[in-house]
Amino acid sequence: MIGFILADLRRLWAGSLVVVLLVALATALGVAVTLQERALRLGSARAADKFDLVIGAPGSETQLILSSIFLQPSPLPLMDGTVLPRLLADPRVASAAPVGFGDSFGGYPVVGTSTGLVHQLEVLAEGRVFAALGEAVAGSAVDLPIGYAVKPTHGLAERGGHAHTELAYRIVGRLEPTGTAWDRAILVPMQAVWALHGMEAESDADGRHDHADDLEHDHGHSHDEAASGAKAGHAPIDADAALNEDWGKVPPGLPAILVKPKSIADAYKLRQEYRDTETLAVFPGEVLTNLYATLGDAKRVLVAVTTGAQVLVAAAILLVTILHVGQRRRQIGALRAFGAPRRAVFVIVWSELFALIAAGVLIGFSLGFGAAKFIAGYLSGESGVAMPVVFAAGDGLLMSLILAFAAILAVLPAVLAYRQSPAAALRA
């Protein structure tokens, strides 16, 4: 019997291949969409996990999260610098770190922050944390060696940003992977970002002002983004100036502060308190949930499209099945004429069709998995956000359902085969 089935499949290999491919592609489409959507959701949720509470100036919550968690380059309004010392003094706050965006280097965002945040993100894989204005720590996915001199560009180079010539950062350390967008970031002292954009802490005591007066490098254009308060020129900055992380001196405006509350209760209280006319406090997870709810419609459309494709393929399989029976009427008639029992005919017809569909489904699942992996890999490379392509328990159920459907479908030709006499089938 096996020999007969194999001989049959060999003989009808072209048609069989078409059925397998059809099923495989349809399955792959559905699987890839499902897995990719899940990877995106899990990946971004995990990327946001590291950040408990984000405080920024009033505006778009989504924009605040996209910029501070996913490091999307877009201008954020600034909030008053006094928010930071106020937070640091709050007993409910375990830690609070300023973040400043706007610069980039070779496609990597250059993010100003504090040494505290660097330690909070991950341990260092090599080197040390920045200790002077002109030092930087690279994320794990930043393909630059220790000691490399980073000349930041304002904005993104490909979008016509201009280079900052006043300061080059030297990479002195590298973080372990975090699976977040911050893996692609070059972390620099917040103070350096302020200095570059001409914003200084008001009671700044170190000697940078002297240098600024010495050398005239004022290009005379003003920044329109995070540094909208810019007034000073582009004087070189002393890269070796020691870092002073005493935020108590009323720092200039800040786009965002990442806060780690001491407890969950504290987190909710802080979020409540810092939602007013001056600041906006958000939980990244909450914003993402809202975002998914909004994107839910888009996902529904996608799911509808894949479902449509799958229904079409199911119809195609049905048609193939019926044609298959039509073509095989003679063969089935002959099997019966020479005495093959019903069971044998059933097994032959059913198993051939089921083998084809099952092969298609299995290949489709691997193809879909491969495609999702590929896309996730590409997106991770672009964004730094690790996207876990994983099967969930429900997928096994889905696969069983598809196979069960196929199993039932495959019975059809076997049933049809007995609706006519062998004599009639032989004449076919």
Partner: protein, 229 residues
């Protein structure tokens, strides 16, 4: 060997005023050797279909020994046919992708009727019909060779009756003669009842009894008197 008793058969096809087959009664003695002749369209194939249970009849009785095949379910009739009737058809109905030997064995193996010596018997039969390469793929064989494989297949399970519908019609005269000869010889050796529908007069001449059909009715039935040339 099996004997036949047939009664009250009346087969009509939609769109045909006259019955395709109308036979009051027909008896074939066990072990007899019968030729079924008649013009094209006279109902020979139709008769063979109902005798073998390939086609259901609405009325009448078809008794092979004491089994009324009209009373059997579709599946059981298929099984009964496999065990009791050796079928040889004009179009061979062999299965491509399998070797000669596999083709001979296929019905038996699908029916779970693989006795211990059956492989050896299949090889013997293939040798007996003059085929020395049992592993040759069926689609590479000549038509004459294919019909010989079909004869070996028909005889494998030692059926009580061998029924052939135009076994030589799609072969040239030489191959046809050889196939006819084999059919007669092997069925005589096995002692089974033999019924052959044919246009081939020289083949019909060599059987014992001749039934002539015309318009679905038996118009002539009697012993073959002339000796084979």
């Amino acid at each position: 060997m099996l004997g036949l008793q047939l009664q009250g058969i009346d087969i009509r096809f939609p769109g045909l005023a006259a019955p395709a087959l109308a036979i009051e009664s027909l008896t074939l003695a066990a072990g007899s050797r019968v030729a079924l002749i008649g013009a094209s369209g006279s109902g020979k194939s139709t008769l063979i279909s109902i005798l073998t249970g390939l086609e259901r009849v609405g009325q009448g009785r078809i008794l092979w020994d004491d089994v009324d095949i009209c009373a059997l379910s579709e599946g059981r009739r298929d099984r009964w046919r496999g065990a009791n009737i050796g079928l040889v058809l004009q179009d061979f109905h062999l299965f491509p992708g399998l070797s000669a030997l596999e083709n001979v064995l296929l019905p038996a193996s699908l029916s779970g009727a693989m006795a211990r010596d059956i492989g050896a018997r299949a090889r013997d039969l293939l040798l007996r019909v003059g085929l020395t390469r049992p592993t040759q793929m069926i689609e590479t064989m000549s038509r004459g060779e294919m019909q010989r494989v079909a004869i070996a297949r028909a005889l494998l399970r030692r059926p009580g009756v061998v029924i052939a519908d135009e076994p030589t019609a799609s072969l040239d005269s030489e191959a046809g003669a050889a196939v006819g000869e084999l059919l007669l010889e092997l069925s005589r050796e096995s002692g089974c009842t033999l019924l052959v529908a044919t246009h081939d007069l020289s083949l019909a001449q060599r059987l014992d009894r001749r039934i002539r059909l015309a318009g679905g009715r038996i118009v002539d039935d009697g012993p073959v008197l002339e000796q084979a040339a």
